[in-house]
């Protein structure tokens, strides 16, 4: 059984049919890249998977349980982490605090969302009590998480570690995106969703990020990546899914997908030669 299963989802925005029956399966340990021209529905798909939004039709199943009707914070609790297209760090929080927030769902027994109002009340009171009293178990957990955060940040060499206590708004753009990734990793996600992780980065930064993603892959992280940069896609993806106009155009191994004519057409449009061929074919059938 796949770790993540998207089954025939549809999404409408007013008159726009943004996703038309998209299906996708993600196995554990796989890295799947989603590509396609702008407006194809890639981020919409991400938003549905991370429960930012809900599909009009279809299902999304994570680890055997449906998640499509959950609110985003519960999806996170189930093991989904994501980064955002525009990069959304918490500006006035430090790098360390940003990463620690990623681990919020791992404070077990503390941050569990209650299902019924009374349960939620009790849990909230317990959470407050814990913060006030700060029992040893709790402090130990916090300390462990802090250590782990530093470990995650060390993946980026000396880029973020020396800036542990700096507010995120003071970081360079690339560093902010790295912080965002670190935050997502702190959740120890079953599935990691990366929305254009190298958008706006120069070639050196992109190469570094590619290395990081490969490192994650080697650790067995299951990932779904939206990317435009084909070199990155070729380097990291086990499989590629190409979307166009809300539907899956083609899906398969990177090499295979790359030279698929339908994909080229979707990105680039038809060549004159192709157009001429098509017109000729039409003329023939009309005559006949």
């Amino acid at each position: 059984m796949s770790l993540l299963s998207v089954r025939n989802v549809h999404k409408h925005f007013g008159g726009l049919h943004a996703l038309r029956g998209v299906s996708l399966d993600l196995e554990e340990g796989e890295t799947v890249a989603i590509i396609g021209p702008n407006g194809a529905g890639k981020t919409t798909l991400f938003n549905l998977i991370s429960c930012e939004d809900s599909p009009d039709e279809g299902e999304i199943v994570l680890d055997g349980r449906r998640i499509d009707s959950l609110p985003p914070h519960l999806a996170a609790a189930r093991g989904l982490a994501r980064t955002f297209q525009n990069g959304r760090v918490f500006g006035n929080l430090t790098v360390l605090e940003n990463v620690l927030l990623g681990a919020h769902t791992r404070l077990h027994g503390l941050t569990d969302p209650g299902s019924r109002p009374l349960g939620a009340l009790f849990l909230s009171l317990r959470e407050i009590a814990c913060c006030l009293i700060q029992p040893r178990r709790f402090r130990k957990l916090e300390a462990e998480l802090a250590e782990e955060a530093k470990e995650i940040l060390s993946m980026f060499g000396e880029r973020l570690l020396p800036r542990l206590h700096q507010p995120a708004y003071s970081l360079s753009y690339a560093n902010r995106r790295r912080t965002e990734l670190a935050r997502a990793l702190a959740l120890r996600p079953k599935v990691l969703l990366l929305d254009e992780p190298t958008a706006g980065m120069n070639p050196t930064e992109t190469e570094e990020m590619t290395e990081v993603i490969l490192q994650l892959q080697r650790r067995g992280q299951t990932m779904l990546i939206i990317e435009h940069k084909l070199e990155l896609v070729m380097a990291v993806a086990h499989r590629v899914v190409a979307l166009d106009a809300g539907a899956v155009l083609v899906s398969g191994h990177p090499e295979q997908v790359r030279s698929d004519p339908k994909l080229i057409e979707a990105y680039v449009g038809k060549t004159r030669a192709d157009l001429a061929k098509e017109n000729a074919a039409l003329a023939l059938t009309a005559e006949a």
């Binding site: 609110p71 519960l74 996170a76 959304r88 918490f90 006035n92 620690l100 407050i128």
Partner: protein
């Protein structure tokens, strides 16, 4: 029922003028201008001087009012808005409030506090309807309103300058890039809004034959409600909203009684915010636009000071009664500590969690009334009430706020304002429980183990102890993962919830703790004053507390305490200035906001 329809339209007519002004300014400057009412009031006075002192006929008087109010609007823009344009809408809220304070008190100093008559110079013609009359003045006001709206519309949509205004409203930076003189646009907008505000003031003054220095306050509130009903920034909407408000109010008087009128208006306000935040004319609940990357509003970092400072300060505070023989400063400081607790609690929701609240006085009222009722009628001991009353108040408070928690920014601010007012009005009308306007008197003084704490020193220590407890609680919470979660909610709600921070839950948590602590302050004050009434803790108090945390530094615990002490001590120490006291207060506020916009205890980086 016809006449209630007419009554509603007539009063709606009056609301319309103010609503148009408020909505137009919001549309351009993105701020609800709390000084609007003051310009409205000045317009009335200018007109009054023209008509009563100089003997001018109506039209030239109107001309003078338009000119004078426009000028006032320009001054407002120059000194209370433009220097703070980059500081965010919260600061602008405060500077306009401070400006309003200055203007209101200046008017009192200039013309005296008494109500003045403003005779209607129009001929006494009227239209006799079945069961009521419509006067020439009513029609004149209607004509003014419609003309205003038309002129505005033509200006905004058919002129180049108007196009510039609209562009600036949408995106100031982009407009700047396009070569639009955004400062000029700002000036123009405030001048226009000022002119209309002044005109409304004059017309309303004529209508009621009645002007006085504080007439702007309710005008602002009603005008804002009407503007919201129509959708902020939507001029025809403001007209519709005003009439709807008027009619709703007229019928609520008919069915419920005049005393419920404002409560119904507030409920309507909150309802609109929750279900139709873009106004009654909008087709559907509009989605909030996504903030673009990199638009951070830095808070400034809290100044760090060595660990011994806080315990030392607490020790000094505790030891103060031994140094001061005079009970007067002790009394002032005791109140100061109570306010500091309110500030600390408000800081938790507004500073740390980023939820602007203008209704904090509501929580204080809940706590005060709960304790007064429990100790007077249910014979609960003070010590028990000290814990139970805030708990009850917190639960009620969270339940009331819960629906509004999904609102953001200014909408949330206005909703909380409405809720604060609603609590006051419920206290006023729910006679059976709260004794209504009579208030609850003879509340017993604080007592522990049978010993009453009545001396100023004892009450001082009690207040200090409660404050320190509150500070400890907030400190522990904000240093923990909970603080992190709250700040994440403030910084970016979308990202926060993507990482497991359920927004409703954590906002409710923040509100709950905040309400508990504010209510605790209310309990102390109820037993200290020995008498509370529905108007003991008003909107003015909410604003005062908000000012304290803005002054001290948002999300800064020490700043909240310092801000409270300063703002309580300040008016007391300039008491000798008499009538000029609050003018100076307003000026100091603006100066402090200008030079330390992040607050006294946050660095200016």
């Amino acid at each position: 029922m016809l006449d209630q329809w007419i009554n509603g339209l007539v009063i709606g007519n009056l609301y319309m003028l103010t609503a148009i002004g408020i909505t137009q300014i919001y549309g351009v400057a993105g701020v609800v201008n709390f000084a609007h009412g003051s310009v409205y009031m000045f317009g009335a006075y200018i007109g009054w001087m023209a008509i009563t002192w100089f003997g001018w006929p109506l039209l030239p008087a109107i001309g003078l009012v338009l000119a004078g109010s426009a000028l006032l609007g320009l001054l407002l823009e120059r000194f209370a808005v433009r220097p703070f344009a980059q500081a965010g809408s919260t600061i602008l809220l405060l500077t306009t409030i401070a400006a309003g304070l200055i203007l209101d008190n200046a008017a009192q100093v200039i013309w005296g506090p008494q109500t003045q008559a403003l005779r209607n110079p129009l001929p006494q013609w009227y239209l006799q309807l079945e069961s009521g009359i419509v006067t020439l003045l009513d029609l004149f006001i209607l004509a003014c309103g419609v003309t205003t709206a038309l002129i505005l519309h033509l200006f905004l949509y058919r002129s180049r300058a108007g196009w510039a205004v609209r562009a600036t409203a949408q995106d100031r930076d982009a407009a700047l890039q396009m070569g639009i003189d955004v400062n000029g646009v700002s000036r123009l907008s405030f001048a226009l809004a000022g002119a209309f505000a002044g005109l409304s003031g004059l017309l309303v003054g004529l209508y009621f034959n009645n002007i006085y220095p504080t007439m702007g306050a309710s005008a602002t509130l009603k005008g804002t409600t009407a503007a919201l009903l129509g959708g902020l920034g939507n001029v025809p909407g403001a007209i519709l909203g005003a009439y709807v408000l008027g009619i709703v109010e007229a019928f609520s008087v008919e069915w419920l009684g005049a005393s419920y009128r404002n409560l119904v208006a507030v409920v309507l306000l909150i309802g609109v915010l929750l279900f139709r935040p873009s106004g009654l004319l909008a087709p559907r609940r509009a989605l909030n636009p996504e903030p673009t990357a990199g638009t951070f509003i830095p808070h400034g970092r809290p100044l760090r000071f060595p660990r011994w400072v806080v315990p030392a300060a607490a020790a000094i505070a505790a030891a103060l009664p031994f140094a001061l023989v005079n009970p007067y400063p002790l009394q002032v400081l005791a109140i100061g500590w109570a306010f500091a607790l309110m500030a600390v609690s408000l800081n938790l929701i507004s500073g740390t969690t980023g939820q602007i609240s203008l209704g904090h006085a509501g929580f204080v009222t809940l706590g005060a009334y709960a304790s007064a009722i429990f100790t007077s009628r249910l014979d609960l001991s003070f010590a028990a009430s000290l814990i139970i009353s805030p708990l009850v108040a917190a639960v009620i408070g969270v339940l009331l706020c819960y629906p509004a928690l999904r609102l953001r920014g200014q909408y949330l601010a206005i909703a909380t304002l409405g809720l604060g007012e609603a609590i006051s009005l419920i206290a006023l009308n729910w006679d059976a429980v709260t004794l209504g306007p009579l208030g609850i008197s003879n509340i017993q003084p604080p007592a522990f183990f049978g010993r009453e704490l009545v001396s100023p020193v004892a009450q001082y220590w009690l207040a200090l102890a409660i404050l320190l407890a509150g500070v400890w609680i907030v400190h522990r919470l904000t240093r923990s993962h909970l603080g992190r979660a709250f700040r994440a909610v403030r910084e970016d709600e979308v990202a926060a919830r993507a990482f497991g921070v359920g927004l409703s839950r954590y906002k409710s948590l923040a509100f709950g703790v905040s309400a508990f602590l504010a209510a605790l302050a209310g309990v102390f004050l109820a037993h200290s004053y020995s008498y509370i009434a529905p108007d003991t803790f008003t909107f003015a108090l909410s604003i005062q507390v908000l000012t304290m945390i803005i002054l001290g530094g948002r999300d800064n615990l020490a700043g909240a305490v310092l801000g409270a002490v300063l703002l309580i001590a300040l008016p007391e120490s300039i008491r000798f200035l008499g009538e000029y006291r609050f003018i100076l207060y307003g000026l100091l506020l603006i100066v402090m906001l200008r030079f330390r916009p992040y607050g006294l205890l946050n660095s200016t980086k």
